[in-house]
Symmetry: D2
Subunit: 352 residues, 4 copies
């Protein structure tokens, strides 16, 4: 096996990424080395590319990016028995410590000592990636192979939707980026009643329809709150799935939520959101949930079950497929507002 | 308005029912009088017709049977404001006391002083039926009118399915009578993964397929437990929905349940069931739930939401439609094992 | 029985209250008339006395105030069977409609058409008060009689504490008014681990100690967040019970909450609270609950069970006992920051 | 360090145990070696001593018994960072696989490939014991040291009590062996209302009183069901904690349970229990939970929190303290029905 590989890395504290030659990772006794088949770009990768304030505080170059991927196990450490060479896998890229209060409570996704592969250590934008065996997720043959590259964001969507009852519930999804679009499909597959969604981007609104949204609202041209209250007998929706991080959308979401409803917040606001705690939370008896990552590994089990049973059609989300070295084109398409997922193939694009 | 009406009644402590002329019920200040449009026959009605041991202990003739129905409000008592003449409605026929421990806890469906309309007092197999206003359920115009006559058993199915997580869960439904069939449809609509079902009756197995079951097993000719364990990697199903009351089916259900699974029991066994508590419940860390009636009124809200959103196709369940006085034919069809619902029309069959 | 009675009323749209002579309420068929034994003053009554902005928008004089009380049933309407003359009772003063979405879901405490006795219609600062029979709560003889006059705020405390797991949890109570003090006692009685509390008023801090708080912090002189993080191994508390409505206290509470923790908000902020949604809710995976009123009637059942079993010592909370006509003294003591409950007796103070 | 140590072992497929000299265990890279301070005898050890049917099917001699203990870390494997030599610890002795369905769902205590240290591999009745680092539980200095030897059964009790709501609930504990006695203390510490208990052994009934039971019933001389229904207004208890495995006690427990109640079953019946599924589970809408082991590691967190806060007085449970080689006396005392815990010290009894 080769000692060196191609990897897409942040090597300087500045805007941009570069294709580099780097050593194939050495693995320890409890690790697994995976040959990456397909990898996908997350919004976080865009932030790191652009070298925004958050990236400057978190990223320590040089580091290989990439935390959405699937591939084939190349070799395993001597203490690893549950995974073997040749297994087709994805992985949870959040690595938890195993001994903090949250880990002991089964809340490993909010571990106090969390490290993220592709952020805090070398990731999957490369020919090979090293993963702890416990984080490997074997993929069922019934699941379309390319779906394996987007399980990380799909897990965010499933985590958010499954954070409370969904069957028979009216739902508002604010924001139709990839995770919002996935959330629409998940909610519908799980018996939600009417799914409302708000989104200012026309292309994304069209995709929301394809993913199953019942009512698609452009809040730039229509009063979303009035529309939703009008269609729900002035009651509001049972569930708000906040996927935008946009302060106006968040406020509209809370105003559209029924008394006793659930607001599950995944989107990350970049500025302060002046919430009306008294009227929108306290008097309403509402429940507000911060959602981070994916439950380890309950969300993976749920997501796999939905996919195996063929309950989710994610095909509309997939856009271009290209080799990893064509990353500049992919990044610029996404920076332009494309909501779909572009797959990058470090070891070559397969013929379909 | 006429003072007398036709009613299908048990008038003697013996097998059989008879069409009688009875007074139109007088209503009190908090009651509602409903002109019955369509009514449906429950398995309990078959027991009362046959005058089995349970019936002999519970029924005090004379009484008008019937607790599955829909109709139009004829008039309301002077203290009633939330319902008005002309409303198209169904009703919860379990009347709770409002002040026992369970009622105060929001568990009115297991009220200590429960009375059932159509069992303990005159029911809906008649031109008119008297219902407390609080038990009236207004029907949304988006729901097919004839579905209104089978909300009582649909509520049983929804209550059972919704008694725990269902999305992404593998499910075994034991017994494909009407409620078992409805449960299959509800589970699929709410994101269940593979739905297994066991049923010895060939006609009912065919209906199970139509309602969406993925794997339909005849336990008379195949080892159901071996099949299910074989297809679930020896793990078993996440959820057992027991709809048969049959001891062998119940035992197979428990043997097919995974460690940590949920068993929701709605079927009523007529003989003792020798459960293996140690291996099937305790060592498994299983949860076993007795299910009775429908939650008042959470189940009605959930059921309505699924129906309004068009998530349930119940058409395969509907069989004959006839006038109430042709009840003998209907009862004998159902005693023969027909799983569908026959609609009886006290005030005439509408043209479709 | 006398036709007229004494009542403490708001008769003008201005500051103050006055003792008036008013007719004894006439009751309808489903109502109960109660002879008031003891009544207690809520913070809301202080706002109405002072005629603040909120009061001006909500209160329509003339109206008799008072929604915390106990007394003896004088007579009942003809449709009432579960309550009888002579019963010693308190009552839930929130009257729900019974048919809105929330009522049907068992969330009557956030009914869309809620009316409050003592706010929206005549209350218990009088010799007699009229209550719907369904809202009457019979008091067990094992519960000290005067506790019956403060079940409304105790219910707020129990509702807040019981809104999530409490046994084995570390807790922060922000604000030690009467409900905060009660919450301390309830949390300790229910197996909480360390209970921290913050309060600037010295008298209230002393009462917090008496009610069982383990660590009492004056946030005016000490960095509460640093103290709590320091004592919890930098993890933070499992549960925040927000009882102050004070923006600084709310912010400190969120900063002291562990990732994955629960924040239950009962206090009503009178100004905007700039929450750090990203760091304090989303990344933390926190759950934030708006708490309003008391669950009808689950909270009453829980509260009664704790009191019957002698688990709560509320004696430190009780201050003066006086006749209703001495209300001015009582109101001015409370406006001065007294955290205890003053009992007013419309029909005379009993000898102990 | 010595290469050999004393160990209490089952060396032949026959009744009895024997003190042997065995090698000090060698540890792997993720293991920890603990010098045992105190160890305690479980009912399971009595079964293995007696070589009953279950033991004959499960135990493969030679093996060192013992799965309740505390001690000091002697050394750790090279991959271990969260535990270090000198730490005072106990351990979860159920070793889970980490990759089965249940492990992935956070239900490791019912792992499909569970192995138990002290049953399936060498345990803690020895000077040293080898434990996987992930199973080590560090003990807080605030917890009495000898409590560390009985955390395994205390965990069973906490797991059972915490399997549903307990604050404000009436409780029946059937069976007052050590775990039943602990459950009484835990329930009271966590705000339960009246705690009833049934037990035929007089000594154990006296201990039940000491542990906080409110009503102690001898079912051999009194109708326990009649007593409990009589004291609960014919309603029954909210919660049944079944700790006996005795068929008559289980049946009494179910008959004493209220409609809508919770039955948590930990005791292991050795014969069939003819449950009345219809009346005791289905019509009652009851929830029955099989309880096995302790949640990994949620139960350990809860148990530690209660102990740190001083909420549990377990002193009445502790009996003799002696050296490990005096095991015969200890085993015969326990076989005689003693409910307390005897501590055995492999490395010498400390002076108090």
């Amino acid at each position: 096996m080769a000692a060196m590989m191609k990897a897409l890395r942040k090597i300087k504290a500045a805007r941009g990424l570069s294709m580099e030659t780097a050593p194939v990772p050495a693995i320890g006794p409890t690790d697994v080395l995976v040959r990456v088949k397909a990898t996908s770009i997350c919004g976080t990768d865009l932030h790191i590319y652009g070298w925004d304030r958050w990236s400057q505080g978190r990223i320590k170059p040089p580091v290989t990016l990439g935390h959405e991927f699937c591939g084939t196990v190349e070799r395993v450490g001597e203490e690893v028995s549950a995974v073997k060479a040749g297994d087709f896998v994805s992985a949870e890229m959040h690595v938890n410590c195993g001994h903090c209060h949250q880990c002991r409570l089964g809340e490993a996704h909010i571990c106090q000592n969390l490290r993220i592969i592709g952020i805090d250590q070398d990731g999957a934008f490369a020919e090979f990636v090293k993963i702890p065996a416990s984080n490997i997720w074997k993929l069922d043959a019934a699941i379309p192979e390319h779906y394996g590259a987007i399980l990380d964001p799909l897990g965010n969507a499933v985590h958010t939707v499954f954070a409370g009852p969904i069957a028979g519930q009216t739902v508002l999804v604010t924001g139709c980026g990839p995770i919002g679009l996935m959330a629409i499909a998940v909610a519908k597959a799980c018996g939600s009643s009417t799914v409302y969604t708000t989104e200012t981007n026309e292309h994304r609104r069209a995709m929301a329809k394809k993913m199953g949204a019942d009512v698609v609202i452009n809040p730039a041209t229509e009063d979303a709150v009035a529309r939703i209250l009008g269609e729900t007998n002035r009651t509001g929706v049972d569930v708000l799935l906040e996927m935008s991080g946009n302060p106006a959308a968040i406020q509209q979401g809370f105003k559209s939520l029924r008394a006793g409803g659930r607001a599950s917040l995944l989107g990350i606001p970049t500025e302060n959101v002046p919430l009306d705690l008294v009227n929108d939370v306290i008097f309403k008896g509402a429940t507000v949930q911060g959602i981070y990552g994916r439950r380890m590994y309950g969300t993976w089990v749920q997501m796999t079950a939905l996919l195996k049973a063929g309950r989710l059609n994610l095909e509309p989300l997939f856009g271009e497929r290209t080799t990893l070295d064509k990353f500049e084109t992919a990044f610029s398409l996404l920076q332009g507002g494309l909501a779909g997922k572009i797959l990058l193939y470090p070891n070559g694009v397969p013929s379909r």
